[in-house]
Symmetry: D2
Subunit: 346 residues, 4 copies
Amino acid sequence: MSASEVTHKKIRIALIGATGYAGFEAIRRLLRHPNAEITGLYGPEHELGPIDEFHPLLTGQLSLSQELFDIEKIASSAELAMLCVPHKVAMSYVPALRGAGLRVIDWSADYRLADAAEYERWYCPHTDPDGLAEAVYGLPEFFADGIATASLVANPGCYPTCATLALAPLLSAGLIATDDIVVNAISGVSGAGRTPNRTCHFPDRNENFEPYGVATHRHMPEMEQALTTIAGRPVTLMFVPHLCPMDRGMLCSIYARPTRDGLTAEGLTDVLAAAYRSAPFVRVRTDVLPATKYVAETNFCDIAVRVAKGRVMVFSALDNLTKGASGQAIQNMNIMYGLDETSGLI
Amino acid sequence: MSASEVTHKKIRIALIGATGYAGFEAIRRLLRHPNAEITGLYGPEHELGPIDEFHPLLTGQLSLSQELFDIEKIASSAELAMLCVPHKVAMSYVPALRGAGLRVIDWSADYRLADAAEYERWYCPHTDPDGLAEAVYGLPEFFADGIATASLVANPGCYPTCATLALAPLLSAGLIATDDIVVNAISGVSGAGRTPNRTCHFPDRNENFEPYGVATHRHMPEMEQALTTIAGRPVTLMFVPHLCPMDRGMLCSIYARPTRDGLTAEGLTDVLAAAYRSAPFVRVRTDVLPATKYVAETNFCDIAVRVAKGRVMVFSALDNLTKGASGQAIQNMNIMYGLDETSGLI
Amino acid sequence: MSASEVTHKKIRIALIGATGYAGFEAIRRLLRHPNAEITGLYGPEHELGPIDEFHPLLTGQLSLSQELFDIEKIASSAELAMLCVPHKVAMSYVPALRGAGLRVIDWSADYRLADAAEYERWYCPHTDPDGLAEAVYGLPEFFADGIATASLVANPGCYPTCATLALAPLLSAGLIATDDIVVNAISGVSGAGRTPNRTCHFPDRNENFEPYGVATHRHMPEMEQALTTIAGRPVTLMFVPHLCPMDRGMLCSIYARPTRDGLTAEGLTDVLAAAYRSAPFVRVRTDVLPATKYVAETNFCDIAVRVAKGRVMVFSALDNLTKGASGQAIQNMNIMYGLDETSGLI
Amino acid sequence: MSASEVTHKKIRIALIGATGYAGFEAIRRLLRHPNAEITGLYGPEHELGPIDEFHPLLTGQLSLSQELFDIEKIASSAELAMLCVPHKVAMSYVPALRGAGLRVIDWSADYRLADAAEYERWYCPHTDPDGLAEAVYGLPEFFADGIATASLVANPGCYPTCATLALAPLLSAGLIATDDIVVNAISGVSGAGRTPNRTCHFPDRNENFEPYGVATHRHMPEMEQALTTIAGRPVTLMFVPHLCPMDRGMLCSIYARPTRDGLTAEGLTDVLAAAYRSAPFVRVRTDVLPATKYVAETNFCDIAVRVAKGRVMVFSALDNLTKGASGQAIQNMNIMYGLDETSGLI
């Protein structure tokens, strides 16, 4: 136990939208956190009630009920709001929360794309341009300074986290071309949310692997923006996600063109290792290729690189519900409140 | 190829309700049958269209569309109707079909319980008591004679098939008590149908095993009726099904009290083997215990018996979509039309 | 954080046998424990090396190597030994460990059966009868006093934990017969260990559910002993385990005969609830039936009871790797060292 | 039933190596074939015995035992040999079989690479160069003429079938570059064979997705050879397979560079559709993207194409055990013996 854990008082957290998988993971991980306390759960009218009616696993662990969103109550009992609600819903809550003085970590896509027009192109018109202008993209490995003082953090998407961590150092170093990248990705089914549908109905999904959202997935512009920002040059890429019959886990197989001859896996590994020397949750691997089970239920992102036949290949894996959502949100919270970055995340 | 397969002309079949898992399995198996031809698919207004829109696997195999139920058209193009629709819906179609001269195999529960009052107790008021009175319970191992000449066959439920085949010979021989039987059963998720719901949503179902319908499942009275009829004495039992995270497969673990001392697994195995000597789809096993994978995609029901500590234990396994539904329906069809019982079922 | 967590110094733990699933779970959970420190990993000659070669997930979390068992080194660096090795191997290490002054929690079956002759009947001759005589059965809900001062704790089997917690209060209260109990159980595949074999080879196991060890499983005498001890009367039962195609999770469906008329689910639920009033990890449920996913990755055992047709049915579920192994071991450790029983187990 | 099925007599088949998954699938499909008869099963000394000891599903379906390889016996009872044995083993049997006058379909890699030196580079020295020189690559969509008269057919690998069918028409038409292709592929676990190992041990494999054999998989040169032959120009590509936690199914996500501007998905779809106009088992899809469940247990290969951001993407799916092995072998057999190409494959 670090000194900070002992001396810090607990961060009081209002959780908005606790009935889905993201909310569940937020609760489970916050319950383990030594410096966090969930003081209230809030949601829409049709999803109110004891939280263990939605998540029977939580019986005996958290006795709160999800209540109707009430800004007065939230303001008086919390300093931080975590929003685990869908895009569009998030930006309907955020102005009130910030207006009441809370800091906010939003898990939706609403504050990830810096440009309102770009947001509108992929989602819908943006209703909180002021918030958008102030939001910090919550990828701690690259934007920790901004996160530390942010009043509004946009927790990144799972795919963008996985792809950006794999590519950013190589692009920054100018080692791969910025316009010839394919991100072939797979995700466990929890990434598709908890609303029942045929695609995720067990007998239609089990033993079934398929591509979806080819070149049209909304995480593609998010990746491009993050990589462009970090690399300082326009980056465009092709993104093709696939649905894999498992609960959780995400893996990107990335194909890129080297900008010069003679690059080796060893050399590129060194570049990645140097970039993540002080990043506690990125593991640049030389022993094994990334696999979803090696990061399951952890906040790690594993990365490995290979070079062959004139091509650079980067593989990255993370748990879509942890480093891809709840774990990253807590990592951001730790940074925002001056805690050890890994607090509550072992 | 047997002589019968060469000389028989093809049975023209109207399939009612082809968009769910049962309908899919019916189509797949009928396509392989040397003496069957699907001449039309029929369903309710909201589920019309090319069948491969519902089942993309069937593209290039069956070019029919599901059309609105039309008794004229059916009567002119088919001699047999297979109904793969839910209970209550089935009995709304059957009188018209039979009135138009078709023979009918109903996969729902509507004609399984001989007593309309008992049916009402578990389902709803019965609207076709005449049909009910004439329906034959389609368990070929025990009712083949009636099936052969039936105009209306009630295809048994998956659980009742699995439990009845395991228990009937032992009850008939008076070797186990008729009032001290527990049927603990598990089923793959396809048994729950194709309508999306939270119970079968992949991330809520995968890695999740649970009991349901304890002492209240509608297949319990069906089993009791079948066993009572076959044994010639009232049989009552406890039935507890469980949902198992796999696509298909069913296994019953049955616990019974012997009526006399000295019974052995060998002796009981002999009784079962004798009972099923001429049943091509029941395998009484002494080499292995039944397992769902040993019967997957087959029409077999595997049975094994054990005796220990004063208790008789019978294990039976089948594929819920084959011997528990589509395969059994085709086995019944073969018997109704004088074909080899195994035709199209290898 | 409780006061005890702050003031207690860390328990120094030697882990024997860290390369299997049990060892992995021990490490993962101990890493989260505020008052525990793994000081060494020890094993046989053919399984030495950095622990993350065996468990790549642990890279960056634990930098120890598994070393050859060395009692001097262990004695000088640890006060508690956890043995995650197979039966027979465990009792070859325990005398040395205890001789060197360490307290021991053994995860194997070696010290669970109090009678050496009974042990020999199910396993092999016992080589440490002195240890056997002093070992305390580590089911905290019933034997916490003995555990608190024990020098050797036999961590219970997963099935016995699940069945005993479900049955003990009802047997103690004389509400169900002691000689007419069936425990029908299922387990995830991790319970079968990490040694590759055909039974657990993915394509032979996936979509495959089957019974095994019918009336011959070694956990049967363990359950009978635990229940006999707690109830104070001889209890015999039938135990039939099944292998279920999922990683983790265990569920018992138990069938018993009431000793009197008029018992209700409500009444029996009250008896269970009263028995576990102060047990933090047993949840007597009235809202839902137990399901493996409701206890996944937790130390809870969920129990629910039903009565119908003259039969008492009890359902219990736990995570075979947590309450059925690692979590229970840590719960025992907490009791042995005067920590809060739930410490490190949220 | 076509006339050919009625008049043809049955092909007598010796199956070499029936105890693995490939052998199992061969048996299951041949049992359904109207013009095939398995007359003997042969294997190595340590795998002899009734076939249902290895595959309990086959009890009652095939009563043969696997016997020691005996060329006299095989020659007197069969005209066609199917070899379902590993590479290197296959070429130890083939000369004897061909010497005895049998036609051979080899499922291993031994006769797929036309160049013995190339074979040696990826496998081991080739011991049957004469056979190698005469073998025909058994991809019916492109080599049917040679297959029809071949005495030795090399049944293609699963990945090469899936990738070659997707790419060949586009390469032949010069629409995509021959040196800038990435084949990102996934396979169900059955593709890894039946020998137990940690990689395929259920709890290590379930919920685990990972790349393997990056740029080193032996199917890469096989694909390149097939495409080079068909396109008439040297084709090189990058091939990266992944293991997916499901029994069966294979999907290739292929990324290529168009050779000219203005190519559209519609145009490329037309090229593919034209190429496969008379191929009964290739479905060029416009309604859905390929998914493994849409081809499960069928001999279809589904293909769809997309164009975006200057890149051509082709997706193809098949059942690795059917079109990727057993079904393709039977398709080849049908062609070799003048039967309808689809016989026994519905």
